[in-house]
Amino acid sequence: MNKHDIPEELKQKLDEFEVDVPDIPLKKSLSQRIANWLYAPAKNPVDLISTQWTPFRIAMFPIALLFLCSLPLLLL
């Protein structure tokens, strides 16, 4: 089985997924590396406050905070 054995209707659907390639430089700058490492879809802080704070989450919060604060030391 190969590409040519795929039904025509399915091929049309697959063709709908087009990808635009951005301009990508070969070399990575240090600032870009840091920015990419830090990148993550940011959550709305209001949503964070409004989520239910279970006892487990409250107990885990200082541990998570400590872990976050120590990340720069761990990665040095």
Partner: protein, 165 residues
């Protein structure tokens, strides 16, 4: 002074970076991650260029293999972070998905198991042979065949496509 190695890497980057980006983007649907992995692939290629044997595989296969391994490593690392610090990540699964969105090819590809998704992307969008896919994913050709068969069946079911083979 620019060495021959640098010139070769630049040529390879010009030829293959778009294909690699398209594969990673279709696989992860994450723009920043795809961008990052494309650059890392060529950085890693420079490091391991001596391991490449042109008699065994095409350079495209070698580059795709590096890109695939980097993708797996980064996704595993991200999943570990998600488990450790779930509140730092968006809860995408809680967002309502419309019926139209459910039947788009993007959403459907994401519903495939990762190993099946890679096989269908390499087969359809990159026109790679089963032998090349087996070399990239480091699996037997028989497994590629069965994953391709399963992924096509699942795609047809999810997209409600008639089987007119």
């Amino acid at each position: 002074m620019i060495s021959n190695d640098n010139i070769q890497v630049e040529e390879l980057f010009t030829t293959y970076h778009q294909q690699i980006y398209q594969f990673i983007y279709r696989y992860t649907q994450d723009e920043a991650l795809s961008y990052d992995i494309v650059q890392d692939t060529f950085i890693k290629f420079q490091k391991y260029a001596n391991d490449y044997d042109s008699t065994k595989s095409h350079i495209r296969t070698f580059l795709f293999r590096i890109a695939y391994q980097l993708t797996m490593t980064k996704l595993k690392r991200r999943n570990k972070f998600k488990k450790l610090l779930p509140f730092l990540y968006e809860q995408n699964q809680e967002e309502p998905v419309s019926l139209e969105e459910k039947i788009t090819i993007r959403t459907t590809l994401q519903q495939l198991p990762p190993e099946q998704r890679a096989v269908i992307i390499f087969t359809y969008y990159h026109d790679l042979s089963q032998k090349e896919i087996a070399a990239i994913l480091q699996i037997p050709i028989g497994t590629v065949k069965s994953r391709l068969h399963s992924s096509l069946k699942k795609l047809k079911d999810l997209l409600e496509v008639d089987d007119d083979e």
